[in-house]
């Protein structure tokens, strides 16, 4: 896995850089939305950031299941890497959202179902990282449970705008986007997903190196 990550990272990072450099050009050429105007263009970074977060949370959840039921240490290391990434992309979503909201809604924040659930998911992921950092020996299994719980939250968060009345645009907006709005969105989406995969490869490699270091320390102490 380490060797694969080493080869994978430059390719993915280069691809992500290409998408991120070209995305503003594609976004500038997109038409203005009739009611929100220019501020709607935040959507082209806001939505993909959350999608990248969801991808990271799914990797976290699946890796946690693998660790809990099959006891694979590599899966646990991947879970840690994915959890950290999920927090990073969640932070992007939580910052870009209010920048849109202050213009579109007149307030930075609204405690409606979608926004509140997004904060709760971010806090669950922060709790996962705190547990891994300060939980001590054996906290991996408990953290894996938290990781699965975080993954279970994602579908509810995604459909929250369809179930409850919120100020947030509905999720059903995305599949019905005209081509002019869809092209910049899916361009950015590709950039964020590739960036997520590149960062995941780099962060997973860091965990691999840490595990190798732990093995070496044990070898040094045992003899």
């Amino acid at each position: 896995m380490t060797a694969m990550n080493r080869r994978l990272f430059p390719v993915l990072a280069g691809l992500a850089a290409f998408f991120f450099v070209t995305a503003p050009i594609v976004i500038i050429r997109a038409p203005y939305e009739s009611t929100m105007g220019l501020v709607q263009k935040i959507f082209y970074f806001h939505f993909p950031a959350w999608m990248a977060m969801f991808l990271a949370v799914f990797v976290l959840g699946i890796a946690s299941v693998q660790y809990l039921f099959r006891g694979k240490p590599a899966a646990d290391r991947l879970a840690v890497a994915a959890a950290e990434l999920a927090v990073v992309f969640g932070l992007m979503g939580l910052i870009t959202g209010p920048l849109w909201g202050i213009k579109a809604w007149g307030v930075w924040w609204q405690w409606d179902a979608r926004l509140t659930m997004a904060v709760i998911l971010e806090l669950i992921l922060v709790a996962y990282l705190l547990l891994r950092q300060y939980g001590g020996a054996g906290s991996e299994r408990l953290a894996a449970g938290v990781g699965i719980f975080a993954m279970a939250n994602v579908p509810f968060l995604y459909v929250s705008t369809e179930i409850w009345r919120t100020v947030h645009p509905r999720t059903s907006v995305v599949p019905t986007l005209p081509v002019d709005f869809g092209l910049p969105l899916w361009w950015s989406f590709a950039g964020f997903i590739v960036l997520c995969m590149a960062l995941l490869a780099a962060r997973a490699r860091l965990e691999e190196q840490r595990a190798a270091l732990d093995r070496l320390y044990l070898a040094l102490e045992e003899d």
């Binding site: 990073v88 960062l199 190798a212």
Partner: protein, 112 residues
């Protein structure tokens, strides 16, 4: 006689309570007149003080500019992505230095 006695009683009562009533009445009238004069001297109140009135379209000069918000959103995303990549790089450097150090210590021990 009876009527005269009643008038006398009412006059006594009027003399007992009449002055304070007149003074009170004068005060009320004076205050009311004063308030009216002061109100007349004040500038007229605006709609925002009496109550909020909804408006359909906000004039362009009153609207919050969107461009700084869009620029801030994009800058934040870039900053977080680059910053996070930098932290991974830093941590990787530390771990690889430790790896090299421990490997050297193991090799030194094996040689000894």
């Amino acid at each position: 006689m009876g009527i005269l006695r009643l008038r006398g009683a009412s006059r006594r009562a009027a003399s007992r309570w009449g002055v304070p009533r007149v003074v009170a009445l004068g005060l009320v009238v004076g205050v009311a007149a004063g308030v009216t004069v002061l109100e007349a001297a004040q500038p007229p109140t605006t709609a925002a003080q009496d109550g909020f009135v909804p408006m359909g379209d906000v004039p362009p000069e009153e609207q919050m500019p969107a461009a700084p918000l869009v620029a801030a959103a994009y800058a934040v995303v870039w900053a977080i992505a680059v910053g996070y990549l930098w932290t991974i790089w830093q941590r990787m450097g530390t771990v690889e230095a430790d790896l090299a150090d421990v490997t050297r210590r193991i090799e030194d021990r094996d040689e000894a």
